[in-house]
Every structure is written in C-alpha cells, then in structure tokens.
Symmetry: D4
Subunit: 254 residues, 8 copies
C-alpha cells in the first residue's frame, strides 16, 4: 500500500464506496508478515512509494506464489522480476489476473491498483536488439509504477546517425534509460546530448573481454558525460524504479 493508495482508501470509505469492515481489514495488516521463508514488508509502499517487489530468481515457485498471494491480499499491486514460466504458473493458480511478459520475464497482477504518477515520459533506449529483454524489464517496471513510457531500440553508436536523428525524442523525455552492452558508449553520447537525468544499464551482451557486462559497466561508470548514473548489470528493474522516483513531481509539503 503506498500513500496515495491510502488516501484513496479513506476517501472511498468517506464516500461510501467501501465499508468500514473492508477498510479495517486492509489496514489491519501488520507492517511485516512472517512466513516460514519470508518476512513480507507490507509498509514498503508507504515508505518507498511502491509495494515490495518479488525477485523470483533463487526462490521456488511455491515461495513466489505464497508471497504474491499475501501481497495481493493486503490490497497491493503484485510485481515479480526474473520470473520463469514455472514461477508464473504457480502465481497464476493463486491470482487469476496475473500476466506474464516472457521477454521481460516479469509477472504483474492487480494492475488496477496502479496509480498514475509520472508527469513526463520515461524513454528507454537500447544500443542493440539483444539488449531488448533488459529494456522490457525497465519498461514494465516504469509502467506498473504509473508512468508513461516510450522506446528507441537498436540505435548504438556504430551508426551514430540513428541516435542523432532522434534528438527531439531524447530531449522531450523526462528521464532517459540507456541500455547497452559491449562498450556501453551510447550512455556517454546520449548523456552529452540532453539536459535530463540519464540512467545507464550495462548489459551482459557481448563476449570475451566483455566479461558478462563489466566492460559496459566500467564504461558507464567512467562516462565523460556528466549527469549519468548507473545501476547493476542487466538491472532493468532498478533503472525503471529509479526513473519512476525521478519522474514523480515532488509533493507540495515536502
């Protein structure tokens, strides 16, 4: 439950859309709920602006489904990353409305709970075709957090006219996520063209001295263009999340 959702809940009560019982049940959830294998952080939405996200890798399908069900029951949007098809199948059995994006490898459910938040567009740019799965993870994340999104795929610097010809799109975005493997040079070029925050996501695309994404990671950390920040290799989710926080207008009382 995030704070905007809390407001809506109380308004619903006021206006009679929900009964006291219903709201009570939703609010009664303790801040953390202990399963035998997990301690679910139900107040994360209030603290961080978005409920706990399930990192599925390394968890069994039963564990993922168990956590997802608890989050849904607490009235929150469900979002899982690095999910396999068998993770999804287990969740689907518990939550009918769950949806799977096989390229992004994300599970989404209770999307009716998504609160539109962003005020501008989050643009996701990739250097190559092989970077698309990571870009899709970022796009799914940005969308479920209530943002408008756009994308430009396969515009790496080896053919620099491809990105230069899109400078209008670049400059009109609110935040830009650059997803690139190999040497990751696209982040520096984009970073030098715009005055909006750029989040760079190195990918493990490449081979040899690429070292599963280290070359792109180091390239992006050492970007000669100011204003570029970096997330972990292949971490489309992290980029999408950070971009969403940036894209939210600060609230008046802050």
């Amino acid at each position: 439950m995030d704070s905007s959702h809390l407001t809506r809940l109380l308004s619903d009560l006021r206006s009679g859309k929900r009964t006291v019982k219903q709201v009570e049940r939703l609010l009664a959830a303790p801040p953390a709920e202990s399963l035998s294998f997990a301690t679910i952080d139900h107040h994360r939405g209030i603290r961080q602006g978005f409920p706990e996200v399930i990192f599925c890798e390394g968890k069994t399908p039963a564990q993922v489904a168990g956590i997802a069900a608890r989050i849904a029951r607490a009235g929150n949007v469900v979002f899982g990353t690095r999910a396999s098809r068998s993770h999804f199948a287990a969740v689907k059995r518990k939550i009918r409305s769950a949806r799977y994006n096989p390229v992004a490898r994300t599970i989404s459910a209770r999307e009716d709970r998504v609160t539109p938040r962003g005020t501008g567009t989050i643009l996701v740019v990739t250097a190559g075709t092989s970077d698309i799965p990571v870009a899709e993870e970022a796009l799914e994340t940005a969308r479920i957090m209530g943002n408008l999104t756009d994308s430009l795929f396969d515009v790496g610097v080896a053919g620099i006219h491809r990105i230069l010809s899109q400078s209008d799109k670049l400059r009109s975005a609110s935040v830009i996520i650059v997803v690139a493997g190999m040497e990751g040079a696209l982040a520096s070029v984009v970073g030098g063209l715009v005055d909006v925050p750029v989040i760079a996501v190195p990918t493990s695309i490449g081979y040899g001295a690429n070292f599963q994404g280290i070359s792109a990671l180091l390239g992006m950390l050492n970007s000669c263009a100011a204003g570029v920040t970096v997330v972990n290799i292949d971490n489309g989710f992290g980029a999408g999340f950070a971009a969403s926080l940036i894209n939210r207008r600060r609230t008046a009382n802050a």
Copy 2:
C-alpha cells in the same frame, strides 16, 4: 551559456540592460573553440543545462587557466574539479574572483552567473568523517548549479540510530546523495527508508579488501534497496550534477 541564461540575455537586450554589441559578442562565440590543447564546448550549457566543467587532474596549471579564461570570456560560470592549489593559483591570476575550496578541491568563478533552480533540497549524507571531501565536491557542484543543499556527516550504519533519528530530514529532501566507503551499506539503508531518488557515491576510504573503493562500489551496485543509482568511485561531482538535473525535473513548477 545555458538556455535560461540565453533567455536572460535576450530580455536584457529588450529592456535595454545590455547593448546589441554586447549581446552580439557573447552570441558570436562559436559552439566549439579550439586551443592547441583543448576544444572548448561553448554550447554545452544550452545542450546540458550547465557549461563545460574543467576536470583539472592531468592538465597543467597553464592549460586549466587557459580554458577557464575562455569559458569566463564566453559569459559562463567557471567550475573546476580535482584542482590542486597550483591549478587554482594559475586561474586566480586570470580571474580575480576565483574561489578555491581546499577540501572539495574545486575552483569556482563567475558565481554571479549561477541561476537558482527549483525549491527542493539536495541532501548529502556521509557514512564517515573521511568521506567529507567527496561530499564537499558534490555540495559545491549542486550549489554552483543553483540548488539548495543540506548535509548529514558521519552517520554510518555501525551506529544506526544516527541515521534513523534523521528520517524527517531524509524524507523531506528532493534528492539524496549518499557518500560512503568501506562496505557502502549506508546507501541501502537510506534507500530503504525514503521515496526520493538516491544517488550513491562509493569512496576509496578503507583499506585491504576495500581495493580503493571497489567494495563500496560493488555494494552500492548490488543494493537490495530499489531506487539507488551509482556513480564512479569518489565522483562527488558526477553525483552533484545528476542530482541537480533530477532536482530541476522534480521541482520544475514548485
């Protein structure tokens, strides 16, 4: 020259504060000016929202002073990082008003050109006392880019009540920069407490298996808290710059 400065210039002409001649001379500057050792990017302000910044390390004092003089002559704010005292002395001889921050190792000049930006505060937090020079670089950068700033020093996780007791300050910031060496855990803890963008700066503080900041860098890249992005080791400037772009975006109408 950045775009807001351009607007001001033209208004000044309109209102008679400046003559056609004066404005002409300022606008006549070509987008890039070639010295024998540098190609100064005079349009960076328009493109990126802040004029070219001089990275002094590896340049001779004469080179730094030469570049600074050209930037000043083009009517721009002058800002130099990683500057030694001898870099500063050379600049000072050319630009009387230059100021040196020996902790941050920055040179600032023509600060009257600074354009105040937004109403949000950029908060810089350090894990230890030894991280302060990097934090100061971030603070100087944020200030010269027109932002309000605040700071919390030496609040690392070994005594976690120090940061927990400051959660109001944390949550009211517009962007937070976390500067930490050793294991860099402070970024994860802060990232988990707030709903604003967090930029993590690993520092080379530590010894042994710290590897000049790699331990903090890896810790921050692998942060379990979503919404944390990372810049290069000891790169206070990069963090300050990115935070400024974010703060503009988030508080544009505020």
Copy 3:
C-alpha cells in the same frame, strides 16, 4: 571421537555398560586410516572437538559412502556437506539411520552420538529468502555439534524495521550468524546492534556486479562494524562450525 565422547566411553566401561572388548575395539582405531582414495583423520574429534566432516562435492557417491562407513565404525557422528541425493543414497545403503536435508544438502548419521554443548543459542539470520539453503547448512552444523539454535529469515536492510524489531532476539543470542548476498549490508547493521560475536556468510545470491558473491564478501570484510568475522562465500558449514567453537567457549560453565 571427541574428548567428551572418550570420557563417556571410559565411564561406560567402569559402570559395566560396555565390555572391555567393545571399548578396546573403538580405541584401537589408528589416528589415520588409509583407503585407496582417502586418509581418514580419526583423531580429529580429540584435536578439534568434532570428528572429520565429509565435503561431498567432487567425490563419487562410492567414495563418500566408504568414508562415512569408516567414520561410523570408529564410533563417530557422521556429517556430510554439499551432498547430492545420489551421495545420500549411497550412504543410506551403508548406514540405515542416515538422514538427508535437501535444502541444506547435508547428510547426518549416528546423531545419537551428538554431545549437547553449552546453554547459549546460535542465532542464524538471513537477508532474503534465497539465502535460506546456506543458513540451513549452518543450522544443521550447529545442531549436530550439540548447540541450541534459532533463526530469523528474510530481514534484509531494505526494510530495516524487520531487523530492528527483533533486537531482543539478537541481543540474547550467544553467537549470531548473518547470511546475506547482494551487498551484504545486514552484517554491518547487526554487528552495530549487538555485543556478541557475529560471523558473516556472504552468499552467491544476486546477479551482474555481484560476481557470485564477491560483492557480499567484500562488503562483509570491509564492515564498518567491529566484531564481525567472515567465512567463505556460501560456507554455511564453516560458520556453523566456528559458531559452535565460540559458543562452547562463551558458555562453558553456564
């Protein structure tokens, strides 16, 4: 055979529970027994306080079973780590009472030989759900070495109230084992909250710049909290073993 077991053996003889023949046979075992592929260290129990443990990875099921049988015949507790199901099957054929923990991947047999040690509790804490297999290995090790154990799973620093709300449990433990992947920050936070020894176990959970556990390993080695020592990546056994030695020491008369 460990030294407490030796005492019991001699007492049993005295009281008539065992015959001279029986005790003779058990004591006649040479300090090291040579198979074609192994040199079993039968005096390790006397020297180190616990008999030789079988590291199963890289050994054939036949080799593991052969070693286990020899250890059991010498009157010792049998304990194997990194065991696959086929390792277990081979041991089971030789020792009926053998038990397998598929999460911890441990084989235990002759658990009647376990000597209860001390009154303090070894507490095992994990940052996430995916760290549980390593935690289970530590718990199995601590238990077979005669210790009381307790656990707290999935209380990582991204939701720091989860660990802060458990500070009583933390402070009443005799030794704490912190199991965490990603940036491993939980070790520093726990280390800063308690005055008991903390053993940190980095796990290979994570991806990208996690480098199969290096990020957590470096984070823990560089912990800003004093009193934290570290074992190898994913080495739940090593942590459980060291914790047992510490727990004996600290609660010897208790």
Copy 4:
C-alpha cells in the same frame, strides 16, 4: 561508556565515591554528539560493549583530537588506530595521558577506564617478523578491551617444527589470532591443531602475485581447517575486537 562501566558509576554514586552532579553530567551526554565533521556515537559502549574507536587514517590531526576529546569527556576509554605521529601529537595536546605504540600505530588514553573482561588468554601468532605491526594492533586492541594476551612471532609453516613445538601454548589459549601474509597457510595449520576459535588476519606482506594481501586473504577464506574465520587484510584491530567479544563469558541473564 559500556554497560559494566554504567554499573560501576551507579555503585560509585551509591557508595559516595561520586556526587550526583558528577554522575549526572556523565549520563547527560546524548547518544550521539554532532561536530561539524563527525557524529560521535556515545552509546556504542552500551550497545557493543566498547566505546567508539577512532579510525585515524583519512582524518586530519585536528579532527582526531576533537573526537578523542569528546570521547574522553564522556568518561570513555579513548582508542585510535592507523594513527600517525602527527595524529598522536594533536591528541596528546588535548589529553596528557595519551600513549602511542609506534609499531601498532595506535593511540590509547584513559586506560584507567579499561574493565578486565576476558576469562582466558588471547594468543596472537605471526608467520613472520614483518607481520608484527598487524599483530601489535590486535594485541593493543585486546588489552584495552580488558583481556590477557600472549604472542608467538615468526613461526610460519616453512619450518613447521616452530609451531608444532608450541602446541601446548596453542591449546591452552581461549582464542587464537593468526596473522600471516604470503600464502597464509599458518591459519590452516593452526586451525587443524586446536579446538578453540581461530581468527585469521591476512597481511599485505609479500610481493608479486601476493597482490597486497589477496593471496593470504583467499588462502584463509578457503582454509581446509574448519573453525577459522577471517577479517580484512591488515585488520589487526578487527581481529582483536572480535577475539575480545568471544573471550567474554556470556552474562547470566542472556
């Protein structure tokens, strides 16, 4: 102020050794005190059993002296590590009784506040003569935390009779700290000989593929002897601190 010190303070009040005023002043110290460059954690003694220790490297002499003075004023033992002679000189000007160990590079003051704690002896063993400075840091730490200590220097495995001939000393210790550079093999040999906790400290002694201590660090993390835990390269302080926590008998109510 640690908890045993608190008890003594209150007893002193009771018995008339201190006045209400005096005790009041000592207790009135807030849990954290903010200087412009540091946030001193005055409750660390109560939480961790020993007051905040000053890591001097990267701090100016003035900063170190400022922090030391505050800690002393709060009635605590002062202890600084990685201290240069100029750090010491600055502290000495503020605290007359300060003492410097030039081999260990530690500053100690208010040693009258040391509370005897340990119940056994902490034994520090080095592989070579060059490892002595790190060993001395561990010894100073253990002593100021109230422990009995002993040492064995230059008993590396190249002449293994040197350590084997000392097995009585090894086995009678309560905790053993093994300090070694190069390949760090001494930790494994000692770990295999005893049933007490062994803390291994890799040192940066060596050259070439030693990589400033990485060879010893990896060797110790991969020790084939169970019961060995590891601290950061050259971290004598960390080893001494952890050994002290282990050496304390658990208190009755735990």
Copy 5:
C-alpha cells in the same frame, strides 16, 4: 622419436634386428607433418626428450585420432590428455592397443616405446580425495615418460599428522608433486620439510572465493617455502612432464 630411441634404432640396424628399409622409413619422416588442421611436430622427441602430446580438449574426435595415427606411424609413443570417452573411441578405432584412464582422462598407446629414464621416484601427493583426477594425470604422464612413481592421497594440512608421519617417503623421493585445491597450503608444508624439488599443482577444487583454483594458485606462488615451483591450475600433465625432466640424470656430454 626421442634421442634415446634414435640410438636404439641405429643399434637395431647394426645388430640386424631391423632392416635398412625399416629404419629408412622411420627416419624419412619430415620434422613437421601438415594435416589440414594440424602441423605435427615429429622432431619434438629429439628436441624435448618426448614426442608431441595431444591436448584433446577443443579438438574433434576425428582430429585427435588423425593426429594420434600420424604420431604412431612415425614410431612414437602416443599420449593424449583431457580426453573424453569419445576421443578415446575414435583413437581406439585407429590404434588397437590404445588404453584409457577415465580418472586421469588420458589416452596412451604404443607404450612399448616408453624408455625407462628416471633414476629416482616421482612422488605425487594430494591434499584431498577430490584432487585425485589431477594427480592421476601427473602419474600417467610421469609413467609414460619412463619414471617410477608413488603416491600419497588425502593428506592435507587440516590433519597435519597425516603428512608428518610420511616424512620418510617424502624425503626419499627424487621429485615431489603436490596437488591441492582450496588454499593450497600443503605445498608450503611439504616444501619446508624436504630438500628435493617440489612442483605444486593448484586445483580448481573448492568453491566461493576459491575462484576455480585461483586461491590455491596464489597460495602456491606465494609459498613461504623456497624450492617450490608452480604450474597452471589442474595441469597435472605439466607437473608430470617437468618432474620427468628433473628426474632424468644429465647425460655425460652435457
């Protein structure tokens, strides 16, 4: 063809055991023979004292068999390392007498050509049971090069009496090969006990911060015992080959 074999060939001719034709055919082989995928070095035996050895990994079974057939036809011993069962099957089809050691993963053929060379015994020692495959590769290499061999398996330093009790065997060897994974400490201990050359072979046995053998490799390179030289990780062949060269008595005319 090695030089001793050449001597024998000419003696055979003299004594009538072989015809001129036969010897002619064997000597007519050019120093290097080109296949489409390989350039076989037929003079390696004369130059290096042993014919070309086939490193099978990365070659197809057909390529390995083709090379083996050419070497056999030139009258040389055939030896292949890192061979899979399918490599062996292909060789077996061409050379009936070929033999496979599935633990060492070596193929041997024309072993009647082996010339007894060594004057002492090459002793191969392993730290653990899992190191045996690498040890077997060394043993097969030493034997096919005409040496007497002996072995001691699973005598790692965690139970140091296992190796100390074998000091007679150690000191009577002519060359010792120490095969160890994890921290590789056994090489230092053995190196300190004997006055014969010690060749250390790091193995990839271990996990986590073992990094597939790097910990053992670094440990051995940094051995505090003089007289230890090192070969590549898991390179039993290289150790066996070097040991064979050492074990040969220098010829009179050298």
Copy 6:
C-alpha cells in the same frame, strides 16, 4: 551498399543493364530502417565500406532472418556471425542462396555482391588446432569483403621451426592475423619477423589461469614486438574486418 557498389549501379544504368526504376528502388532505401526490434543501418556500406553485419548471438532466429531479409532487399551482401544452425535455418527460409560455415559459425548470402578488393593476401595463422574456428571466422570475413586469403594452422611456438620455416609466406602477406590461445606468444614471434601489420586475436582456448582467454589477451597487448594490434577475445570477425580495411589501403593501386 558500399561506394564501389554505388558506382557500379550507376554505370549499369548508363550502359542499360538496369532500368531507371530498378536503380530508383535500390537508392530509395532510407539510411536507417526501423523494425520493432532493430534499426538497420543501410548506409553503413557507404560510410564504412561494408554493409551492416548481423551479430546473431542473443537474437532470436526470427529477428536474424528479418534483418537479413531487409539487408538483402536493399541490394547488399548479407553476413552473419556467431550464428547457430537454427539462425541459419530461419535465414535459409527467406534467402535461398544462404550458405552456412559450421566451423566459423557464419551465414553468408548474396555473395555475388562481393567486390574484389586489392591484390594483397590476408594470411591467417593459428597456434593450435583448437584455434581454427576463430580463424575460420576471420577468413570468411576477409573473403566476403573481397580479399584473397591464405592460412597456416597449428604452428605455435612450442615447435618454433614450424613457423620459422614459413617465413617467406609470412613476409609476402599484406596483413597477418595471428590467432592464439594459452599464452598467445605466437603474435610476438610473428610480429618480430615481419614488416607488415599484424592483428592478434586471443582465443579462449586453454584452462585454469587462462581465464577464458585473458592470458592470451594480456600477452598480446604486452607484446614486445612493435606493430601488433589486438582485437577482442575470439573476435575473428573483428580481425578479418580490420585486416580488410588495411589491405585496401595498402594495395589500393596495386
């Protein structure tokens, strides 16, 4: 479309071999064509002298076939690297004339479009048999870019007469590509023997401290022979491409 192809197209029009319509259609292609997953760079031939090459790894067969069809339709040579058999099958369905080299793992199509370039020969040399796949990738690349090629396989430095006996072939080449794994020493030896440009390709052949080609990569970057440049590990394509550009330059009028 490369520039020589453009010339031919216009000549064909002039001479009546092609109609205005046909040429019009070929020239009408925009410089970049956007698919949903790729932005094809149709002007790369004019800019770089060779049309866009498809790096197949990480792309689905459908994506590869889609891109290949677009390139073919634009009248360009089609070339794909790191292609699996299923990539090839998908392309084959769209372009009948496509050819697959299973050793090099390349797909070639529309080879009638290849423009013969220069009279110099590109010589590809390998240290071992296992390096041949990388060499084949370089050879396929050089041939499809219109060059004459030659090769020498398995002439590594362990039998140095193999390469020394080929010095005529070496010295008569226009460019030499040296493909080697393990320590990569062949590049230095060849580089010291000739006065033509040498491009070194490290391969991932080897094991242990080879680290998937790093040993060869570092060896080649540190070559004591001047005139050696290096490409990424296993990057036969990059070497073949660079060699083609060099060969054009060096034999432009020849």
Copy 7:
C-alpha cells in the same frame, strides 16, 4: 638499418657518394651486438622496417646511452620512448644531435636517416586534453618512421558535435589513431564514421573504476564498431608503429 636504407647505401657506393670502406664498415655490423646488459638487434630494420627502439623505463641512463651510441654507430635512426630527462642528458652527451620531446617523453637522434615512407596522413585524435602526452608519443613515432601526420585534440563524445564537424578530416586520413581514457567511447564513434583502419589507444586518464585505463581498454576491445584494433594502455608508440606499417604502400614484389 632498414631495407630502403640498404638500397640507398648501395646506390651511394655505385654513384661514388660513399667509399667502399665506408659501406663495408656499415655492413660489417653483426646482426646482434652484445653489451654486458643488452643484445642489440641490428637487423631489426631489415626485418621489421625500422631499427630497434629503446624502451627507456627500467634502464639506467648509462644503459640507454650505451645502446643509443651503438645504434647510431651502426648508421641507424635512434629513437627512445618513456625517457626521463636524465636518460636524455646521458644520450645527449654521446650524440650531440639528440632531441627530447618532454610531453611525449621521447628521444630522437640521427633524424637525417628518416626515410619518407607513408603515402597518406596518419591522424591522431584525442578525447581530452590529458590524453595529449600519449598522442604526442604516437605522433613522434609516426614522424620518425617517415609519415605525414595531423591531429585533433579534445574532441570527446560528451560534446559530439566537436568530432562530427571534423568528419572530412577523419575521412581523408589514411589511418586514424584514437587516444582516449575514461570510457574510451570515442573509438567506437570514430570507428563507425570512417572506412579507414582505426587504432585505439586506451589511456590511464580517469579515476576510481577507471582502474588506470582498464575501463577504456575494455571499452575499446568491445567496440561495437568494426575495424577498430587496440594496443596496450598508454602505448602511443605501439599505435604509431602499427599505423606506420599500415600506411606504407605494399612493395611491388611482395
């Protein structure tokens, strides 16, 4: 002595410009000359097209001067790299005409022996001002090997119009050397714009995760632009040498 120089020498004899004695003396030099500390390779010019170059780092001034004198006496151009002022002083005492370039840190002498070779221009491009010393080393090398040179300094990708506006200069060069630190992205951008060979030189300029040039090295090795080859970090000499070999037109008889 290189081969063109040999031709000239013989022509000079023919035409009477030199006496038989003079030529005899020059040709009498053995292919390698042994000093106590060096074995000078006098035939390198014939083999490699340029005489032996002195890498001064790690040699004493006396050694450098001794080698330089021998090379000069053999009638060859003298060229030293990584030379300090004291190296130069020692050479200057032996060879009056010696010249020092303090930025490039090169020593040149007997420049009258330089044979014009190149047929086009070698263009050296740098990303920043701090990269100029490495660029100067490349330029000095290219010039002493007889090439025309040109340069573009400080045109990094953060202000991409600086390099795009120079595309004519880029496309008219015969070979391009790109010198860049930080992320090294300039190599990819230039490589994508031209159809001439590009040699990339990573520099150690940067800090933090730059790791003394590794970030630029990896970026360049992983360049997404084909046709880019790489030399060692800061190796301006190697780039200049390779570019010179490329720039020479192949001789007719090759």
Copy 8:
C-alpha cells in the same frame, strides 16, 4: 648448517682440524632460536639443504642484522634478499665480511661456508635489459648455494635470432631460468627448444595491461611448451633456489 656441512664438521673433528669444544658449540644450537621478533630456524639447512634466508623487505635494519648475526654465529652462510643499502649497513656493522650486490639487492656473508654442488650449469636468460635485477638475484642465489652459473641477457622474442643462435648454450645447461616481463613469451620459446627443466620468472617490467607482471605470469603459467614451471613475479631468489635443488638432483654423481 646443511647436511654436507655437518659431515665436514665431524670429519674436521676426526682429523684434528677442530676441537671437541668448537664442534660442540656449533652443534649445541637449538633447532629454533627465539628473538623477540623472530624465531630462527637453525635446522633448515639439514632439512632443506640450505640455511634460513633473510627476506629483508618489511624488516627493520636492526632486525635483519640481529637475525644475520645469529645465523653467522651458528656457523651458517648468511644470505639476505630484497635488501636496501641501510639493511646492508646494519649487517656490515655486525659481520665485517658481508658483501652487497646493489643490482640484485642481496647481502651475502660467510661465503667460505658455501659448499660446491654438482657439475651442471644453471643458465639464467632474460628477455630484456630491465629484467637484469631479477636475474642477478637468481644468479646470486644459485652461486651461494654452490652452483656454476652462466647468463644470456636481452634475448627476447622480438628478435628471435638472438636466442636461436644460442641454442648450444641452452641445450648444454642443466637447468634454465627464464626471466621475462611484458608477455613472457621467451619462456615458451626456450621451453620448446630444450629437454632440460625450465623455471620461468615473470617480472613486473612493462606498463598498462601488464599489471605489474600479471601478463607475464599468466603467459608463463599457460605456456604451450611442456616442462616449464613458474615462480612468483620478480622472485629471482625462488627460481635460483629451486634450480639449485634440481641441479643437485640431476648431477649428483657427475
């Protein structure tokens, strides 16, 4: 005291050259002697064939001199490595006959105690002039251990005729030590030319991607020539020591 020295001592007693008193005093030395900072291993000569060698780096001059005096007093040869001039000065004050080799950085004393060993020659070969200091350390070590030595300096593979022309010298040696930096290729070339043991010493000579000797170390560990073993970077002492043990073995009766 080594075993041959023991024999001589007893013979001297027999023949009346020494008195019972004298021999008694020499034999009375305990196997290990404890100073406050060192535990001298006086029996190392008997165990390892050469007395303890002093690694001076990291020890104070006073410590080195103290150890040296004890070794000399026990009747042993004194040998110190990595010695600075101030180490030497301190030793010289205690042992008049001490000698310093400033290139090798070794201290030698009591050289009359050197026992001549074997008739074979240890040949030390370097790739470059800068490798000589490491070679000198190896040569000093080999000589003080009683071996005949020879050397070939600056014969690296860039001018391969330099080493090929010396093949007689190479093949007549008993053991060869190859000292090389950069890519270390010389070890492979030499290893492929001879049938004697080759010990490779990587040096830290080079720059950039040499990483202080890692490139040479990896190159040598991955040598394609069999029979090459490796010691630590710059470890001339280790190579000289191992070569001495090998030379004894190979020429025992010669």
